[in-house]
């Protein structure tokens, strides 16, 4: 039994069968990658996990709870955090404030009318946020306005926000998209480090084979809306079906 179980999920957009009977079983504590060519349905699948899309049929169970038909904030409160393809952060606020907001949401739940005591008195929240920033290597930039950071740092900040909530499952949508090689390698190192430090389940959607093969313990290959293979990285590399669907075009 995995922490995230996807069974027979179908999603149709007009004439396009975006997801075709998808099954997925993500083991607790593992890094599970979902790869596939453009338009294979990777992002659609991820959107079904976080409440942005509702599949036409099928079930998505997380830790014994169905994730279908509930709102994004409720899914997050169950312990699922998401990193977006383009970093979604609070650009007008400082780096520390960004992480503190996530920490508040984790401590206080979806809503708390905490309008009288000042933020500066919330020492615990602040310490926790600073510790998380240290984990991702942004402690020196905590007073910067988030919008003024590089893309790589924004990604780190977004991860820090997710990590500060101590999630059970972290969903990463192309965490290295649009990054330079050096930044990509830094991100891989960060993810590896985090995997060792925190026993946190991660689902990664990725284009970059280099990233996938250096991180994942298990890979699902998605093509035209269905999972064609699910296996370990070693077996995926040589798999003829995968070659045909995907790797035939890319050098690995």
């Amino acid at each position: 039994m995995g922490i995230l179980e996807v069974q027979n999920v179908n999603k149709r957009f007009g004439g396009l069968q975006a997801l075709d009977n998808v099954n997925l079983d993500v083991e607790e504590g593992s890094i599970h990658a979902i790869i596939g060519p453009n338009g294979a349905g990777k992002s659609t699948l991820l959107n079904c996990f976080v409440g942005r899309l509702v599949p036409d049929t099928g079930t998505v169970m997380f830790n014994g709870n169905s994730l279908l038909g509930i709102k994004p904030h409720e899914i997050n409160q169950l312990g699922v955090s998401r990193v977006f393809q383009t970093p979604e952060i609070f650009t007008d606020l400082s780096v520390l404030e960004n992480v503190m907001i996530a920490t508040f949401a984790h401590r206080d739940g979806a809503f708390k009318l905490n309008a009288i005591d000042p933020v500066r008195k919330e020492v615990d929240i602040r310490d926790h946020a600073e510790a998380t920033l240290l984990d991702v290597g942004l402690q020196d930039k905590r007073n910067m306005v988030a919008s003024s950071m590089s893309r790589g740092d924004k990604r780190r900040l977004e991860m820090a926000m997710c990590l500060s909530q101590d999630p059970k499952l972290l969903l990463l949508d192309e965490p290295t998209a649009g990054m330079a090689r050096a930044d990509t390698n830094r991100t891989i190192d960060l993810l590896k480090e985090l995997a060792e430090k925190r026993k946190l389940t991660k689902v990664i959607i990725e284009h970059d084979m280099h990233v996938v093969f250096s991180l994942a313990q298990k890979i699902s290959v998605l093509a035209q809306g269905h999972v064609i293979v699910e296996d370990t990285p070693e077996n995926i590399k040589g798999h003829p079906k995968v070659r045909e669907a995907y790797l035939g075009e890319a050098q690995v």
Binding site: K71, F90, E97, F104, F111, K112, N143, M144
Partner: protein, 397 residues
């Protein structure tokens, strides 16, 4: 632990002291500008409260309501009813005004906040215009239609009904009438210390203090996060709807407070207070002063009320006296040139000023002050590398 980004307690205390002194000294500071008379001073304070409340919604969450005058009007009507039915003491009137406008805001906010951006603005505008028109038609038993709601000699006033016959009673606070004024001659000016103004001033100070607490609180931080990236906030586990609704109701109650104060100073309520131009005015006040800043809204409210009441009274005679030192021909040319910008043309000056501020100082007058302040301080000590990330929240030291 010292922190650069969270304003310290000492900083906030300084800001409060500064604010209290300036407000209480209002009659002295404004007298040289011809604005030191009670009626206008009361307006400064009341519209300051209105703008502070509007800023909690617009400045923090970015939700632009175009219907806040409705809450002002509802506050006024409720207050006048309380004056008619219960007592000429303003306290029950103000309490009822705030409560009723809060309930009104809860209903309108609950519906309007289902949409954001321009759709939200249009929904609030529609509600306010609906209230405005209903006040003239269906609700005339409550609003007294075009005549407006006013106190009458035969009102029941169950608590203090027995006033002198043939004379309308005055609004008061436990017996002290709102129009009690102490005149003091000072340096050739007549300073007028009016009880009504000081009553409004104390409430303004309390309203400002509450807004300061909200700005600094986790709730305020969440509201700013709503403005920046609502999507991220949802995926961070926060239900944004109750946050925005709370902000909407709080700002509606501020508007109701302002409305009931208007009625407390002059026991009269008319539907024109709810018209869309009145809703637009508070938007202008907040943007002019600086949306999302603490002092900006009060400053913007003062600016617009000053223009409306003082600038509009400058006629050609006044202009001639200004330019009297010039030779006759030049004097007439100057008067002709300035004429369109003052008196009835005060809107033109205000409009140009507003455009200049929005273009050159998008953060409003407060941004201008902060820039000047930073220039002064950076000249004095260039060594400090204080990343004042939130320029808005460190004003006026």
């Amino acid at each position: 632990m010292t922190n650069a980004i969270f304003p310290s307690k000492a900083n906030d205390r300084l800001l409060m002291i500064f604010f209290i002194i300036v407000v209480l000294a209002g009659p002295i500071i404004l007298a040289p500008f011809g604005a030191g008379y009670p009626d206008l001073l009361q307006r400064f304070a009341i519209f300051g409260i209105f703008a502070i409340g509007f800023n909690i919604l617009f400045g923090l969450t970015g939700y632009l309501s175009f219907g806040h005058a409705a809450f002002l009007g509802v506050g006024s009507y409720s207050a006048v009813w309380m004056l008619k039915l219960l007592s000429m003491n303003v306290i029950p009137a103000i309490i009822l005004g705030v409560v009723i406008s809060g309930l009104f805001a809860l209903v309108i906010g609950y519906v309007s906040l289902r949409r954001s951006g321009i759709y939200f603005s249009i929904l609030t505008l529609a509600f306010a215009q609906m209230s405005y028109n209903l006040a003239y038609s269906v609700f005339t038993p409550i609003t007294n239609g075009e005549t407006g709601l006013q106190i009458l000699l035969d009102d029941p006033r169950v608590l203090d009904g027995g006033t002198k016959p043939g004379e309308l009673p005055l609004t008061n606070l436990f017996g002290i009438p709102m129009n009690a004024t102490q005149k003091v001659e000072f340096l050739g000016m007549t300073l007028q210390f009016n009880f009504g103004f000081y009553f409004c001033a104390v409430i303004l100070i309390l309203a400002f203090y509450l807004s300061l607490r909200i700005f600094r609180s986790p709730f305020g931080l969440m509201l700013r996060a709503v403005k920046t990236n609502q999507n991220r906030l949802n995926y961070t586990g926060v239900n944004t709807r109750p946050y925005t609704l709370a902000a909407f109701v709080i700002s509606g109650m501020y508007a109701g407070l302002a409305g009931s104060l208007l009625a407390s100073m002059d026991p009269l309520a008319g539907a024109e207070r709810m018209q869309w131009t009145a809703s637009g005015e508070v938007v202008l006040m907040v943007i002019l002063g600086g949306a999302g800043t603490l002092l900006g809204p009060v400053l913007g409210a003062g600016f617009i009320k000053y223009f409306e009441n003082i600038f509009s009274k400058i006629n050609d005679n006044v202009l001639h006296s200004w330019f009297a030192f010039m030779p006759d021909g030049l004097e007439n040319v100057m008067v002709t040139l300035v004429h369109p910008f003052v008196g009835k043309g005060w809107h033109l000056t205000l409009g140009l000023l507003f455009m200049a501020i929005v273009i050159f100082l998008p953060g409003g007058l407060m941004e201008g002050f902060n820039r000047i302040w930073r220039k002064i301080t950076s000249k004095r000590e260039t060594a400090t590398s204080d990343t004042s990330s939130d320029a808005a929240s460190t004003p006026a030291e």
